[in-house]
């Protein structure tokens, strides 16, 4: 186990370094680099520009700049927002919780529905319902999240007026019930793609397990089918899903960005788009790096959890 953890941690460090290199490359991609937004300020002179470049350390060599940028990232100094001069990490922190609430609800829906659909598909393979679920999942994967959001708003907010069309709370109302009422639509929209993915993987994993010898043994012992499926098959089929949860993090984060925009949900995705609009690059870069780190850590955790739950992995 120790060896597995050590190897995995080493791999993550290499990944962390590559992620930071990509981030640094993106930062310097803008024509004129990080300096470009100052060049447009009215009354900007060449001398003043050179002074700013010097203050920002842009006149030094790239490796030195990278070293300073990366060490500031590691020590938690992620720069300050151009908009209100507050520290980038604090700005992200104040929006993070709303995104996590949205993502957690969507994952919950996706896991429950996806596992159920997947198991049903595996048990009644090639039945009409299974075929329908297969085609349905393909179509669900092809629907643009933002458009599905617009359709949901049109049907449930504009036409039926069952659900609010956006925001987290009604003005003047801050109750839990009001929050949940606002959460339903965006969470369902964000969950759609995930339900499709989870049901596909769950079906494949369940079919894999059902064909194993120990399932035949359990049946031969005369156990009731329900017990075989739930106690013996489902528990093992769920193991690869831990890894899937880690792998799905980038899709989920990207989906959250789009969903938050359509439903004006005050999370990290909306913050990202607002910051792009204001050309608030420290916050934009901060969120980009933060989300990549989140994915990296998420994948590492999923792998460790998987190894803890499944002794077969540690032996490899």
């Amino acid at each position: 186990m120790a060896q597995f953890l050590f190897g995995r941690a080493l791999q993550s460090l290499l990944l962390l370094w590559l992620v930071s290199m990509i981030g640094f490359a993106v930062l310097h991609l803008a024509p004129g680099g990080p300096l470009s937004q100052f060049a447009l300020v009215p009354g900007m002179t060449q001398e003043r520009l050179a002074q700013i470049a010097h203050d920002m350390g842009l006149d030094r060599s790239l490796p030195v700049q990278y070293w300073e940028w990366a060490s500031r990232l590691l020590t938690g100094d992620w720069g300050r927002s151009y908009r209100d001069q507050s520290p980038v990490l604090a700005v992200i922190g104040s929006h993070l919780f709303a995104t996590i609430e949205l993502m957690a609800t969507a994952i919950l829906i996706a896991v429950l529905l996806g596992v159920w659909i997947g198991v049903m598909g595996a048990v009644r393979r090639y039945s009409f319902a299974d075929m329908l679920a297969t085609v349905g999942a393909m179509v669900a994967l092809s629907i643009p999240t933002f458009w599905f959001g617009l359709v949901v708003i049109y049907i449930f907010s504009v036409r039926l007026q069952w659900l609010p069309a956006g925001n987290m709370y009604t003005v003047g109302d801050g109750s839990l019930l009001d929050f949940l009422h606002h959460l339903i639509a965006p969470a369902l929209v964000l969950a759609l793609v995930e339900v499709a993915i989870w049901s596909r993987y769950m079906r494949a994993s369940m079919i894999d397990v059902i064909n194993q010898d120990y399932i035949r043994t359990a049946r031969a012992k005369g156990l009731p089918e329900k017990r075989v499926l739930i106690r013996h098959a489902l528990r093992n089929a769920l193991l690869p899903m831990i890894t899937l949860a880690g792998l799905e993090l980038p899709t989920l984060l990207g989906g959250a960005l789009v969903t938050e925009t359509v439903f004006t949900w005050p999370g990290m995705g909306r913050l990202f788009l607002d910051s792009l609009g204001y050309r608030d690059y420290p916050v934009v870069m901060g969120i980009l790096m933060f989300s990549a780190l989140l994915v990296l850590v998420g994948n590492l955790l999923a792998d460790i959890l998987c190894a803890v739950a499944d002794p077969r992995i540690r032996l490899d």
């Binding site: 933002f146 458009w147 990207g254 359509v262 788009l273």
Partner: protein, 295 residues
């Protein structure tokens, strides 16, 4: 059968028959065939349609603003400036499909090159390249695309390059694993012993035998690229108006959702139709090329 009896014609014959079998399996895949038909129709409509319609996609007609679908000759209605939605949809399709197709070609080339090099040399080179793939996949695609699109000039060519730069990883992974297995096969070792150069082995022996999985991955990449263009154009950082794309047609649709819902529904249906079709085709190709189904 003696070795001499299996002449070149016979080998070619076997290859042809295997190819036919794959093709037959593909044609039997109903959903894939539906996908092919939809894409052909869509492309045909986008190429020829704008000439056949009585409206120009950019002609503003303030008397015909917000006409609902099926008003006179406006099949899908009109937008807030009275422009015909059908004409705009078809012109947008030209842009969206070309961008997606070009992005697929470029990202397949990048992915194949990186996959072949990583799979062929293995060890340190392969490990570093594949970790680079992992690192790229750590960034949520939409975040990376939006940042790049905001920093760079948002014309269709740049958008194509950005989408390509963020979607080659899947192809690289597929190619790398293919090449890694093919690398150990007898015909590769034979070519190596005969003194063929690295480049020749990579292209002639390895790449040619990995075409199937590359085609599948490329098809799915088109679907992804259409979606990615739609996402960033919808959010205002992709293709810029007045050039229409399926994504930016939805850009202002949300504010008219109550009064003119067709503005949101029609372009979204076009995107979903195109993406679903490419996903079906990719799925059909994967089944058809899976030789294990033969036995």
């Amino acid at each position: 059968m003696t070795l001499a009896a299996a002449g070149p014609t016979e080998i070619a014959e076997t290859a042809r028959r295997t190819g036919n079998r794959g093709w037959r399996r593909f044609r039997r895949h109903k959903l894939a065939m539906v996908g092919v038909a939809c894409i052909l129709l869509l492309v045909l409509a986008c190429v020829a349609g704008p000439w056949l319609l009585p409206f120009d996609d950019l002609r503003i007609d303030m008397h015909a603003r917000f006409a609902p679908p099926l008003t006179g000759l406006h099949l899908f209605g009109t937008d807030p400036l009275g422009r015909d939605l059908c004409a705009r949809l078809l012109m947008a399709g030209r842009i969206s499909l070309s961008v997606a197709f070009a992005a697929m070609v470029i990202s397949t080339l990048i992915g194949t090159a990186i996959g072949v090099v990583a799979g062929y040399y293995g060890r340190a080179v392969g490990a570093v390249l594949m970790r680079l793939v992992d690192a790229m996949l750590c960034f949520p695609a939409v975040f990376l695309l939006l940042t790049l699109a905001a920093l760079l000039k948002p014309d269709p060519i740049m958008i194509t390059l950005i989408i390509a730069a963020t979607s080659w990883m899947e192809v690289a992974r597929v190619v790398e694993s293919q090449i890694r297995t093919l690398r150990e096969r007898d015909f590769t070792l034979a070519a190596e012993m005969m003194g063929a150069s690295d480049a020749r082995i990579m292209v002639d022996e390895l790449l040619r035998n990995a075409v199937g999985p590359i085609v599948v991955a490329a098809t799915l990449t088109v679907a992804r690229a259409i979606l990615m263009e739609a996402y960033i154009s919808f959010l205002g950082y992709g293709i810029q108006p007045p050039t229409a794309s399926w994504g930016n047609m939805l850009n202002n649709a949300q504010q008219y959702l109550t009064s003119a819902p067709w503005l949101a529904i029609v372009p979204g249906l076009a995107i979903t139709l195109a993406v679903t079709s490419f996903n079906f085709i990719g799925d059909g190709l994967r089944d058809a090329l899976d030789a294990r189904l033969d036995s």
